[in-house]
Subunit: 144 residues, 2 copies
DNA sequence: GAGAAACGTGATACTTAGTCTCACTGAGAC
DNA sequence: GTCTCAGTGAGACTAAGTATCACGTTTCTC
């Protein structure tokens, strides 16, 4: 069973109809290997309207199929998400995003909760840097 | 010396003029005890134009006088910042923001850098929860 | 002090990312 | 067949921020 079919079943199980525009958006989302913006999806789903693409993205986001990635400039991108709670490591040079499996601040949250008296319900954590292939190995000509 | 005067001197030292609209924006910023939006500043500085308020906010942000706070809904607010790199603890009930002095993920960054091969240059971390006075005395525990 | 250059300004148009509204469509229930 | 209702596209609208432009004010130079 393809990812598209699996997702369609998941939508139907939740009582949503799987219409041609929704299929088009989901297919476009699944084609994206890295992060994307809604504008990029709109380019790929010429058939579907703006509102529909935004609605479907919100739906997929609520279902946990895609997650939001906060870029270093403050803009929000989206990304297919296999797991539940996780964080991202964003390469500021090539834009590649890597998922971080385990939540590295779980201990910090416990400690902070005790120290501050807050009941901590959530957090947002993104790392920015240069991936292995973008790190210039002693500047072999050019660089950025 | 008041904060306003200190900031004015800081601006002049950087070669910026301290004009009446800028003074008005800075005064409005310093009046805010918690986080604020540019729209709120605009309400308070009726004299200064929209563009000027945005320009001054960007200027103060570049100077490190104010910092951005990412709210749970994805919107960006601003906040007077006394220190350099720090994180925020946002109460989702009353909206109060608390600064976290020491960067609690410094160790995580080092570990992650080694494990992933990334040269980590920055990160964004915000915590969300309910502050001591907003926690209902019954509901202890839970979490996301 | 005059004139020029630089800086800062408000008004306003524009951009981006997203939401809202509304008339319409098509599938399913009866 | 018709009623209902989720889903649709078009397009208006919103929020947050940027760009442009003509103009005013300061500062610099002579």
């Amino acid at each position: 069973m393809s990812d598209l079919e699996a997702l369609s079943l998941k939508l139907e199980a939740r009582g949503y109809r799987v219409t041609p525009p929704r299929r088009a958006v989901i297919a476009a989302v699944l084609q994206q290997s890295n992060h994307f913006t809604v504008e990029e999806l709109l380019q790929r789903c010429r058939g579907a309207g703006r509102a529909t693409v935004f609605r479907t993205v919100r739906l997929l986001s609520e279902m946990g199929v895609i997650c939001r990635v906060l870029m270093e400039d403050g803009s929000l991108h989206y990304r297919v998400s296999q797991r539940g709670h996780h964080h991202h490591l964003v390469c500021t040079a090539c834009g590649h995003v890597q998922d971080l499996d385990d939540c590295s601040v779980a201990g910090v949250v416990r400690e902070l909760s005790r120290a501050s008296g807050y009941e901590i319900e959530g957090h947002w954590l993104e790392f920015y840097g240069r991936c292995q292939s973008c790190r210039s190995p002693v500047a072999v000509g050019g660089g950025r």
